[in-house]
């Protein structure tokens, strides 16, 4: 049992170490180092030896010395004997080993004897592995987007693996793609259009949604249940089904290529979500407040503006942020309704840019950074509001 558990622990921790070093090697390759192999066999032997040695040594020497011994041995073999690699790479390896020995320091021979210890180990390492794996998989495309926007066409073609940026160069060269998209491709105008459309959608949606949500949450009227179920159903209805009839109607009314047209469509498509989210919150406001207000002879307008809105600022801001993000990210309707470059939104402009095969990719990526940054900024900054809203309303997407 003890031997089996020891081998199991060593294997799992070894795989984890291999994973850590491999990610570091990929990142190092992308900085221009020529690493052509992961040397998995050597990593495996070393990882296994380190894990066994860790268990064998136990607490007999301080963990700091243990770390020094392990990492210097490891670095000497991996970073020096097999392939001479620069010092910063080895410093990175040192930190990885520091992290690794820290993680395995809580396991010892006596711990391995406990019940379910293999499962506990597996769970622990899977969690660690998962966190790192998902961070890498999610952040890598964003990292690539950002880096590519700072490169030149030639650099991208010569060595697609070189992600290093020369910060020593002139600021004008570094941000060249951004200057170009703002100057030659009128991205300033598109940002303005996108902002006007998104903010406009938020305002109109709230104007329509707050009274309606209040009625659904509080008042009794014929057709109330029907209304609240239809909200749910409409909210599930796909945009692709609306595209053709809306296109024909808008063409005949001359609403295509206009901001008004987009505003109308965005408002209508976000209204059900907004009403659904708001009425849920309105229901949680104590009724007594309104009853007092009715005694004070306040009209429904007064009740909404003086009681409901001040009390539900968090919910309203979460709906507002949400609707803003939906409108900002929206692509399908802007693709269908806008074909005149003067009325493009950001998303549509980037798609238009990519339609020309000659457009250098760094411009495309610079455009992508421009459209992504505001959304990510809003999301990270207001995360608390947004996450509660996401689970409450589950935004369409």
């Amino acid at each position: 049992m003890k031997i089996k558990n020891t081998i199991f622990f060593s294997l799992i921790s070894t795989f984890f170490l291999i994973f850590l070093i491999s990610i570091w090697k990929i990142l190092a390759t992308l900085q221009g180092l020529s690493i052509n192999s992961f040397n998995i066999e050597i990593l495996f032997v070393f990882g296994f030896l380190i894990s066994i040695a860790h268990l064998g040594i136990g607490n007999r020497i301080k963990s700091f010395y243990k770390l020094i011994i392990f990492s210097s041995l490891f670095i000497f073999c991996d970073g020096y004997l097999i392939q001479k690699l620069p010092i910063w790479y080895n410093i990175g390896v040192f930190f990885i080993l520091y992290f690794f020995t820290n993680k395995i320091s809580k396991y010892s021979f006596s711990g391995l004897k406990e019940e379910h210890s293999t499962q506990v180990i597996l769970f622990d390492f899977l969690t660690l592995f998962g966190i790192l794996f998902f961070s890498f998989v999610i952040l890598f495309p964003f990292y690539m987007m950002l880096i590519t926007s700072f490169k030149t066409q030639i650099a991208l073609l010569v060595n697609p693996l070189d992600f290093s940026i020369n910060f020593g160069q002139d600021i004008k060269d570094l941000f060249k793609s951004y200057f170009v998209i703002f100057k030659s491709y009128k991205f300033g105008k598109y940002i303005l259009t996108s902002t006007v459309v998104s903010v406009g959608t938020v305002i109109i949606t709230l104007l329509f949604a707050i009274p309606a949500a209040y009625a659904v949450a509080r008042l009794n009227f014929f057709g109330k249940t029907f209304l609240s179920t239809s909200i749910l159903i409409i909210y599930m209805f796909p945009a692709i089904v609306l595209v053709i009839p809306l296109y024909t109607i808008f063409s005949q009314l001359g609403l295509r290529n206009s901001i008004e047209g987009l505003l109308i469509v965005y408002t209508a498509t976000t209204l059900p979500v907004a009403i659904y989210m708001l009425q849920g919150y309105f229901k949680s406001i104590p009724k007594e407040l309104e009853e007092a207000a009715i005694l004070d002879k306040l009209s429904w307008f007064g009740i909404i503006t003086k009681i409901i809105i001040p009390l539900s600022i968090p919910a309203i801001s979460s709906v507002a942020l949400y609707v803003f993000m939906i409108a900002w990210n929206e692509f399908l309707f802007s693709l269908m309704f806008l074909d005149n470059p003067n009325s493009f939104t950001l998303s549509r402009a980037i798609q238009y840019l990519s339609g020309d095969a000659e457009t250098p990719r760094q411009y495309l990526m610079a455009g992508s950074v421009v459209v992504t940054l505001p959304v990510l900024f809003i999301f990270v900054y207001f995360e608390k509001y947004l996450v509660s809203g996401l689970t409450a309303g589950s935004v369409k997407g």
Partner: protein, 419 residues
């Protein structure tokens, strides 16, 4: 008294909900009915523009005579297909002008020229010209003349409003166009995308539900793909997977894992042999599904995490006392607690993935075996310019969707009953 109060309440409710209901009706419900109407018609993209009578005003000076001027109107029917009936024309002029040669179709009164041009057949063109002279021999101001635009009116048939119907579109959708293949691709895409995103959602939620340093940061990062604009993400992936100079292929070649680059988004099939069995994997479709999972697992993650955090701690403590292993705890406590949320998530994501258009459109444009039903709506309606066909395809989507929704609401109803 009570009755009137209830009446006031009712009235208020209708006033409050009316604007929202009307807007949603006009932009969402009405188009759905319009879709049914259009799907039974033979309409091309070029037919939907209503024919208009148009006139281009050109002002020409006549040499040696500054007090005289020639105005040329280039008249035409904007439609190449339909005639316009009873075209009337109207234009205004400055007060000091008099007309020289009046066309018999026209009438000049109070400095307004009115003409009845009768019917214009399709593609009709005419150069209509009038000559004016000033009363007092003064020089004519061309700018003023140019600033006034002529007005034209005419009647024409709107092809969308006549009552000619046909079943041709549906016949074409169901029996031509490899309908079965289309349906199958859509189901693969929807099913695997949904299952994948839920599986990853469970894994990540389980992960983030444990205590570790940087947990809130991790939660934000996991949601990035879901909140970022699809356009930016799709083009980044395209660049990442590019066969010629994409990062992924370059990395794989650099580490000698593959020898020649793989065109992950442009290759329909790839042959894989496992244990002597040869499989043909739909490569581009798989890549698109991967993107789909990558982009939408955060939603599943968020829902499941919220549910996990609501599970009472006592359950796990009791399990610890009984000596349950981590796997037992996961399968016996956690999983049963989240099945409700998973089944609802499955339905929501299934319906939404079924209608997903942007992701596939931006990544492959529907090429190399990734043509799903929504992509087909776009292709029929706008690439082939057959609006009627596009509508018919989207009707198929609506019908399938109604079936899914029926099941979804039955499921939802069951859950409500259980609680």
């Amino acid at each position: 008294m009570n009755d009137t109060l209830a009446n006031i309440e009712k009235k208020t409710a209708y006033v409050l909900t009316l604007p929202a209901v009307l807007l949603v009706f006009a932009i969402i419900l009405f188009p759905i009915f319009a879709n049914v109407w259009i799907s039974f018609k033979e309409v091309q993209l070029k037919d939907i523009r209503i024919p208009e009578p148009r006139a281009k005003k050109i002002i020409k000076s006549i040499s040696d005579e500054t007090s005289k001027i020639k105005i040329l109107y280039k008249l035409r029917n904007s439609s190449l297909l339909q005639e316009i009936r009873d075209v009337t024309f109207q234009d205004k002029y400055p007060k000091n002008l008099k007309i020289e040669n009046l066309d018999p179709r026209c009438d000049f009164k109070q400095f307004i020229l009115k003409c009845d041009f009768g019917n214009w057949p399709a593609k009709y063109k005419e150069n209509f010209q009038v000559i004016f002279e000033t009363n007092d021999g003064s020089i004519i101001d061309k700018k003023e003349l140019k600033s006034i635009k002529p007005k034209l009116y005419g009647k024409s048939d709107n092809i969308l409003l006549n009552t000619k119907f046909t079943l041709k579109n549906f016949k074409k959708v169901l029996f031509e166009n490899e309908f079965l293949d289309l349906l199958l691709t859509t189901f693969y895409y929807t099913f695997f995308g949904t299952v994948g995103s839920i599986v990853f959602g469970i894994l990540t939620a389980q992960m983030v539900n444990q205590k570790f340093y940087g947990r809130t940061f991790m939660r934000s990062v996991l949601l990035f793909p879901y909140v970022a604009p699809v356009v930016a993400l799709a083009y980044t992936w395209e660049l990442l997977l590019d066969p010629n100079s994409g990062t992924l292929n370059s990395l794989l070649i650099n580490y000698r894992i593959i020898e020649t680059p793989i065109n992950l988004l442009g290759q329909k099939y790839i042959e894989i042999s496992i244990l002597g069995f040869d499989f043909k994997l739909r490569l581009a479709l798989t890549t698109v599904i991967m993107f789909e999972i990558w982009r939408y697992f955060p939603l599943a993650f968020l829902f499941i995490l919220a549910r996990l955090q609501a599970i009472p701690k006592e359950l796990y403590e009791a399990a610890d006392v009984d000596g349950a292993s981590p796997f037992q705890k996961f399968f016996k406590i956690t999983l049963p607690q989240i099945t409700a949320v998973i089944s609802i998530l499955f339905m929501i994501r299934f319906i939404w993935n079924f209608n997903k258009f942007e992701d596939v459109f931006l990544l492959t444009g529907g090429a190399s075996g990734t043509r799903t039903l929504p992509i087909n709506v776009y292709q029929q309606g706008f690439a082939i310019s057959d609006i009627g066909m596009g509508s018919a395809v989207s009707m198929v989507i609506v019908v399938l969707l109604l079936i899914f929704m029926f099941f979804y609401f039955r499921l939802l109803g069951k859950r409500v009953d259980e609680n």
